[in-house]
Symmetry: C2
Subunit: 347 residues, 2 copies
């Protein structure tokens, strides 16, 4: 198993180190040969070579079966979104160059964390759905620019049938593997791209007769995620809507710091926690490594089709939560260190 | 006071009728001469003349000092977003033709409705902010279309300095009248239009030294609205983000059925409840008229600068909630009819 490791900025290196301990433990138990190739990205790469996603890093990713990614971002870039070189540009370039067309985010609750949810417990307890966000198209990657005088700006949103079909296919397939309900989120009452999405979904739906397909406007989805999160099974949407709705969906669980993600690509796939680089905590050995460890579980399952290995990791994580062997974000009074939690999970 | 009345579809006519009772009562008490011009819109207008916003209706709006609007939409259009003529098109055309560039939505909680909020009471109790959404620009009104083979679709998002300045000005001014905090929501790390928004906001901020201006990415805003709604005072954003975030913000209060809105225009202004046409309830005299009645309060305040008249209406609404003289959505066991609540409020 050939894994590229892009630890990135802030707490990235610390949490990735714990995931590697866990991957190694599973690999040893199950007799897998695992090799790691480390590469730089994010603010760290800007500092070193002036590019947040250097060609050398891209090459390592292209040659890997899977990429384990930490987090990127540094406060020095935060208040200047117009800076010439920014960590996010590396992220977007990585997505495009690796063809990471589908971002998968399981939204799950953990009983021991439900008290942290901003929602009423009865509404959110048991919520369990999968957000699938298109990640290499739409307004993120369309033509953008300014008029000559700088006083008019534009961003073009474009979608092709091919882009829409491949992500909807994934949506229908996940629905088949889960509770057989697919919610296609768009703004077909206003946008032409959304009308193409809905048209193609309506063409494909008859091929999945067991799946109950539902169409929902994005403004309505933003409400339903809060009001009835348990009604969702698989949700699929375009890039910009997905950016907003997946973050909204994560936060209702109260367990944002524990949630993993997978970005499925044409060339390789990337596994990363959904939380950020959390610079205030960097180097303090206090960050919660669980989201990255669960990303490693997804890595086994999605990149190598090794379900049992993924399950082993999930069981270890559940056990650590049940036994309250956790970092300070979960229990301040008896907090364990990042590295202690990593050791415990690996053991 | 010359008011155009566009009752629209579903429960629109019933709730608008109650608002008119209340406006008349206030007008009588304070000695205002009020004239109403009724006009058709929405599905009702499609049925009658094949156009959801006919020229005759537009003319009546243009001649009015303010427009009282009910709701539009009918289930027969719901499952066909590609239908040639749709009620929403009338709404968008009305916004554009009346130059309704700013949609204002106060997000408020009502003590007697807090138990209906999906959020934990401690998080949402006392939340009180104003969402200002740009309403006549951006991706809603940019060029849109298909490739010849129909397999590629696009929507262009465009913003000009002029459009951005006038709405940000409103944002700063509202912040000055309130708790002096303005949150500018954008996606300046990805979109060129957002970078223009942020640039202009940064240029204007020094003119309002008392206002604390905060910049927030839209994905983060979608989280913060749920996590810390009390941190917001005035939020301003572009059309598409505003569509999503204002609906999200309304739903956290538990009082969506009570919330009004104002759309400030170049030619006239439109006042309407934020809820929809609720066709299932149409004609049953059960719909809650409060959102429309509070829209009438905004109408007095915003269109005619008659603050006291607005206050009288707000006091009546508070009293009806305190005395539990309310429709079935609030109290099923002792529900009053729509028309009874209207009479009570007017009295
Ligand atoms: C950092 C930013 C460009 C990125 C995005 O908008 O896609 C982030 O918000 C995400 O969701 O991964
Ligand atoms: C009906 C639709 C076109 C409209 C919009 O998206 O603006 C509605 O959702 C709203 O917010 O008023």
């Amino acid at each position: 198993l050939n894994i590229a490791v892009l630890a990135g900025d802030g707490i990235g290196p610390e949490v990735v180190a714990q995931a590697i301990k866990v991957i190694n433990a599973v690999g040893e138990k199950k007799g897998h040969q695992i090799s790691y190739q480390e590469a730089i990205t994010g603010a760290a790469a800007i500092d070193e070579v002036g590019d947040p996603y250097p060609e050398a890093t891209h090459k390592i990713c292209m040659e890997a079966d899977a990429v384990l990614f930490g987090a990127i971002g540094h406060p020095k870039f935060d208040n200047d979104p117009t800076a010439k070189v920014r960590p996010e540009q590396g992220l977007l370039r990585m997505r495009k160059q690796l063809g990471l067309y589908a971002n998968l985010r399981p939204v799950e609750t953990f009983p021991s964390l439900l008290h942290k949810s901003p929602l009423r417990r009865d509404l959110v307890e048991g919520a369990d759905f999968m957000c699938i966000r298109e990640l290499t198209g739409g307004i993120y990657f369309g033509e953008k620019g300014r008029s000559e005088d700088g006083n008019t700006a534009f961003d073009n949103c474009v979608y092709t049938r091919e882009e829409i079909e491949r992500i909807l296919k994934l949506g229908f397939e996940y629905a088949m593997k889960r509770r057989k309900k697919l919610t296609v989120v768009d703004k077909a009452n206003v946008l032409e791209t959304s009308r193409l999405w809905r048209q193609i979904a309506q063409e494909m739906a008859p091929d999945y007769p067991e799946v109950e397909t539902q169409y929902m406007f994005v403004d309505n989805a933003a409400m339903q995620i809060i009001q009835w999160p348990k009604n969702f099974d698989v949700m699929v949407t375009e890039n910009m809507f997905g950016d907003i709705l997946t973050d909204e969906a994560s936060v209702i669980t109260g367990s944002m710091g524990l949630l993993p993600s997978a970005s499925i690509g044409l060339h390789t796939s990337v596994f990363e926690p959904i939380h950020g680089s959390y610079p205030q905590a960097a180097g303090k050995d206090i960050a919660n490594p669980i989201a990255t460890v669960l990303s490693a579980a997804m890595l086994f399952e999605y990149a190598f089709d090794l379900k049992e290995e993924g399950q082993m990791i999930r069981k270890a994580v559940s056990a650590s939560l049940d036994e309250n062997f956790v970092t300070e974000d979960i229990d301040k009074s008896q907090a364990k260190k990042t590295s202690e939690v990593g050791d415990w999970l690996a053991a």
